[in-house]
């Protein structure tokens, strides 16, 4: 269920043109590979000299509580999430979660306390779409909305499709995301989430604290 990975961000110098004109605050992505590479991409220069942390949620939820629930929760620490449906309950297939009613949105909230600047959920994305009663993928249009006000509308044509965001402004953080069904599919099919990818950039103070804790732990073991 948990797949934690670390990526070191590049401290490469900013290319000369990067600061010309308008500066991004929230960047949308339609490719998982590009979303994963973004924090260490020297051209995007999101968080130079910081280390990004990733978490992958595969919604491995099973048992009697996996059908008709009022909410699901997962993750831990900064990646803690709670999912609800805008109208009615939600269920799990064991590898994805979906709103029980067609037309309902899936809402994810991230309520773990964080310190600013940095910290909190700064990157979010996933495989979102529609599923039929038989559990099969159905193409359709979704509107992915961030708490920052930024959003993307995309017609999903394959189960491998990806949509996501990174917040580039260190003073902004993602506290929620809504997966809203649009178009004709919204009337007949449930909106679902197959996989959700999350990213954070811990504040320098938090990294230093972890380092001090590690040193203290190793000294105690030596004693």
């Amino acid at each position: 269920m948990k797949n934690l990975a670390l990526a070191t961000l590049s401290a490469a110098a900013l290319v000369a043109s990067a600061n010309a004109g308008y500066v991004p605050d929230v960047i949308s992505f339609t490719s998982l590979a590009e979303w994963q590479a973004a924090p260490s991409d020297p051209e995007l220069n999101l968080y130079p000299d910081h280390t990004a942390q990733f978490y992958t949620e595969d919604f491995n939820i099973s048992g009697p509580q996996s059908f008709g629930a009022s909410s699901f929760s997962g993750g831990s620490g900064w990646s803690s999430w709670t999912a609800t449906a805008s109208n009615g309950s939600l269920s799990s297939t064991g590898t994805s979660i979906y709103a029980a009613n067609s037309g309902a949105s899936l809402d994810f909230t991230f309520t773990e306390p964080y310190s600013m600047p940095l910290g909190g959920v700064r990157g979010i994305g996933g495989g979102f779409g529609f599923r039929s009663m038989a559990g099969e993928f159905v193409p359709g249009k979704i509107w992915l909305k961030l708490s920052t006000g930024d959003s993307i509308i995309k017609t999903i044509t394959s189960p491998q499709a990806f949509v996501g965001f990174w917040v580039a402004d260190p003073n902004q953080v993602i506290t929620s995301i809504r997966v809203q069904p649009l178009g004709t599919g919204a009337a007949y099919y449930s909106v679902n989430a197959d996989t959700m990818y999350m990213g954070t950039v811990p504040a320098p103070g938090a990294i230093a604290l972890l380092g001090v804790a590690g040193l203290a732990g190793s000294r105690r073991r030596r004693d």
Binding site: V15, S17, A18, A20, G21, Y22, V23, P24, D25, V26, I27, S28, F29, T30, S31, E34, A38, D41, E43, L44, K141, W143, K145, L146, T148, G149, D150, S151, I152, I153, K154, T155, A168, D169, L182, G183
Partner: protein, 211 residues
């Protein structure tokens, strides 16, 4: 006195109309989705496309086009180039910077923008590559362009927020000896709810005066 009543009425209508709207910027990677947003969300608005075919193929320090609310100017650090149906930078690695100064009024300004973006080589042929598209509002999208018809664009959800500029930044190695370019520019303008209400109230007053 009549004017005061008129504007007071407009203010109430505007705040009610926008009470359930969360202002933001919507990104799109598909022209049909961008056009559908117009029809679903703002049926009273209008869009135009500039095919960029009106320029003599040559190098320029800047280029301008459109008229009124969709007037645009494009620049680049080392100048821009006009092809038969596209505009590009003259130097690889340069950004294309668009400014939209046609209107400062929310009622008649620019609220939606999009285009077919990509790269051109020395021979003027389309080349795939990766682009970062950034609006004056800070909203951005990274697009891996593979076809000449690939599209990226935005709409403002809040009809009071205008788009005043856009930057096309080449990313990755694709821009080496290639020049970031645009083939078609799509513009969307949305009459503000206040302006619509004003027109409606003015129409009622005129009709009443006629009777």
């Amino acid at each position: 006195m009549k004017a005061f009543v008129l504007f007071a009425s407009v203010g109430v209508i505007s705040s009610v109309a926008s009470a359930d709207v969360v202002p933001g910027v919507v990104a799109f990677a598909n022209l049909k989705d961008w056009q559908a947003f117009e029809m679903d969300r703002f049926p009273s608005y209008y869009t135009v496309v500039d095919p960029l075919t009106g320029f003599k193929p040559d190098d320029y320090s800047s280029l301008s086009g459109g008229s009124g609310w969709n007037r645009w100017t494009v620049t680049a650090a080392n100048g821009v180039h006009a092809g038969s149906s596209y505009v590009s930078t003259q130097m690889d690695g340069d950004d294309l910077l668009f400014t939209f100064t046609g209107s400062t009024s929310a009622a008649n300004g620019l609220h939606g923008i999009g285009g077919n973006f990509g790269f051109r080589n020395e021979a003027g042929q389309f080349q795939p590559g990766k682009i970062l598209l950034t609006l004056s509002t800070g909203a951005s999208i990274v697009q891996n362009v593979t076809l000449k018809t690939d599209f990226a664009g935005f709409w403002m959800e809040d009809p009071n927020v205008l788009i005043t500029g856009m930057r096309l930044q080449p990313l990755g190695n694709a821009f080496t000896a290639n020049y970031v370019s645009v083939d078609n520019l799509y513009f969307g303008g949305v009459p503000a709810p206040g302006a619509l209400a004003l027109l409606g109230v003015a129409g009622i007053c005129t009709a009443k005066r006629r009777r």
